[in-house]
């Protein structure tokens, strides 16, 4: 008997059929990935398990967690289960935390709401769990507020809140979609580690097929509220039975057929671009400090060429782009389009700007 059993789950919201006879299961220690395009009903399935569906929802079918019939449970019973037997991590870490409460309080709240421990023990457990998710005490005391953390760090706090009571099932709805690539990898490793340590079942909703291939023990492919295909990862990837599944995976492996690069003919020249931001004054009589967002970047873009500007968040790509468009001035360096400078002094040349 699996940890989570969903059989023939149908969901309609105000007469719109969102889920049609969905069946899947998750066993303890197993990672099941639910994937598909937007609108396929993946998130709704997750919300159905938590019974956090929007108003005017009608569900039918079977939904059992460790033998408990979730659809027959009262709201009070569901409250007892949420956070205790099943935890959930959502997509948007930037807005998932209450801005006016400390991270310590928020993690402790999961524990205290279920009266699982005394406040002193809860505090200790919260501290341990925060360290376990990669937020050690010296750099991340419990008195930190969410706005002092980055997106990846906030997501770790959300995970900490979800696993504080070592639930048997963890649901993650697109947990890394809003994060940049390096952080994504770290969060996914964290989740894998937690599953191994705690023996939890993980139901992972994601549209990122690379993640699916890498992490999942079993894959469930959904489309328009129905399960199209399901099976163990290795088998499914080797032999995709449904044409839709094939199309989905083919699309992700798609490579754009680029035409041959023409002979180099410089169009846009960026030389030694430096962009400084003035920091607010910290002391009344000292001059304000500077933050160097772009540090002497140079490159040339030729006519007919496609240039990709890639990097993590905070690396300065958007700042540089705005400077190229003439929306922000440079402190040093130059940018010319077809030989004409984008800036004269600090004022943008509108004539040049209009050519972009």
């Amino acid at each position: 008997m699996s940890l989570l059993e969903i059989r023939n789950l149908s969901l309609s919201i105000r007469d719109f059929e969102v889920l049609k006879g969905v069946s899947l299961s998750v066993a303890s220690g197993e990672i099941v990935a639910v994937t598909g395009e937007s609108g396929s009903g993946k998130s709704m399935t997750a919300l159905a398990v938590m019974q956090l569906l929007p108003e005017h929802s009608l569900t039918s079918g079977q939904l059992t967690l460790d033998g408990t019939d979730l659809l027959a449970s009262s709201e009070a019973e569901m409250c007892a289960l949420r956070g205790h037997s099943v935890g959930m991590v959502f997509q948007e870490p930037m807005t998932a935390l209450n801005p006016v409460k400390t991270i310590g309080d928020q993690v402790m709240e999961t524990i205290l709401v279920h009266r699982a421990m005394s406040p002193a023990d809860a505090r200790q457990r919260a501290r341990d769990v925060l360290t376990r998710v990669g937020l050690p005490a010296d750099r991340f005391p419990m008195s930190r507020y969410p706005h002092e953390l980055s997106g990846g760090q906030r997501q770790r706090v959300v995970i900490a809140m979800a696993i504080a009571l070592q639930p048997r099932l963890l649901i993650a709805d697109e947990p890394t979609t809003a994060l940049d690539v390096t952080t994504q990898a770290q969060i996914l490793d964290l989740l894998k580690g937690l599953v191994a340590d705690y023996g939890m079942g993980l139901l992972m909703i994601t549209h990122d097929l690379a993640v699916v291939a890498d992490m999942a023990d079993r894959i469930v492919v959904m489309r328009h509220g129905e399960v199209i295909e399901t099976g163990p990862t290795v088998e499914l990837l080797a032999d995709m039975k449904h044409p839709y599944t094939r199309m989905l995976f083919a699309a992700s492996a798609h490579q754009v057929a680029l035409p041959d690069a023409p002979a180099p003919d410089p169009l846009l020249q960026v030389q030694g671009a430096v962009r400084d931001y003035r920091l607010p004054r910290t002391q009344l009589f000292r001059p304000a400090g500077h933050f160097r967002a772009v540090k002497g970047v140079s490159f040339t873009l030729n006519r007919g060429e496609r240039l990709g500007l890639v990097g993590e968040s905070g690396c300065g790509k958007s700042t540089l782009t705005r400077a190229i468009l003439g929306l922000e001035p440079l402190q040093q360096g130059s940018i010319t389009l077809d030989g004409e400078p984008v800036f004269s002094g600090t004022r943008p040349n509108l004539a040049v700007r209009r050519k972009m």
């Binding site: 929306l327 509108l350 004539a351 700007r353 209009r354 972009m356």
Partner: protein, 271 residues
């Protein structure tokens, strides 16, 4: 269109209509005193009764509507006319000295409630409807400036504005061609609300004698006059009071209804 909007529009139009009608016709001369007919409760001849001088209440009410509406309307006009450009300018030059100046100016005016401004002006220039207009109008300026700036600031971050900047449009042109139309809905709703607040403010100022002076009738002054007689002639207070309530209620309902109706577009301006 919601019920609010329809009901509100009906009530408001009723009052405006009454005010307009009063220019061409009133059942009785609103200044004519008729002592033998004093303190009558509503009846067939005098539809809303008479006051302590025998003047017809109905006539006084509809002429009083003129004062309330005129004062509130011009005051909102001043507030919008000066406040909106200030707000646009502040948002266009966010963080600059101009922005700081406008914001500090706003805060300063907010420290002077309309009543206090009216006191200041009246002490030096004497009482009258014009002073009421100025006092209420001045207080409206920071209201509109702040709302416009707030909405404009979020719009400046939007991509279609960035596109306009890249295309080479100046900040002033962007403010008027792109930002202003998008905040218009918000301003219409706020304008209605400020209008209703203006009616209340005018009534309060007239009540204490700082607004329109006799013989110009005003609902607030009618209430002040009725005070000593309210125990035996309550209609003298009830009728002007209800006139105020109906007008303000109508405007507020209309404002709410407008906000709901324009909501999808409001969300563009707000987010």
């Amino acid at each position: 269109m919601s019920r609010n909007l329809i009901l509100g529009a009906m009530l408001s139009s009723l009052v405006v209509l009454a005010a307009l009608v009063s220019f061409v016709w009133t059942p009785f001369d609103y200044t004519a005193m008729n002592i033998p007919a004093k303190l009558q409760t509503p009846n067939a001849t005098h539809w809303l009764g008479t006051d302590h001088f025998g003047r017809d209440m109905f006539s006084m009410i509809i002429v009083g509507a003129r004062t309330s509406i005129a004062v509130a309307l011009v005051a909102v006009g001043i507030g919008m006319g000066l406040g909106v450009p200030l707000g646009l300018a502040a948002a266009a030059r966010k963080g600059s000295w101009l922005d700081e100046l406008i914001m500090r100016g706003n805060d300063l005016v907010f420290a002077f409630p309309s009543l206090v401004i009216a006191i200041l002006i009246t002490a030096v220039f004497g009482a009258g409807a014009i002073n009421a207009i100025i006092a209420i109008g001045i207080f409206n300026i920071p209201v509109f400036a702040r709302i416009t700036r707030g909405a404009a600031l979020s719009l400046w971050e939007r991509e279609f504005i960035m596109a306009a900047r890249v295309a080479g449009k100046s900040a002033t042109r962007i403010s008027f061609e792109h930002i202003l139309p998008n905040v218009m809905n918000l301003l219409i709703v706020q304008g209605t609300i400020q209008f209703s607040l203006g009616i209340l403010a005018e009534a309060a100022l007239s009540y204490v004698g700082l607004g329109a002076q006799p013989p110009t009738p005003s609902w607030g002054r009618m209430l002040a006059d009725s005070q000593t007689m309210v125990s035996f002639a309550p209609h003298l207070a009830l009728i002007p009071g209800c006139a105020i309530i109906v007008t303000v209620l109508g405007l507020n309902l209309m404002g709410d209804g407008l906000r709901d109706w324009l909501d999808p577009k409001l969300r563009v301006a707000r987010t």
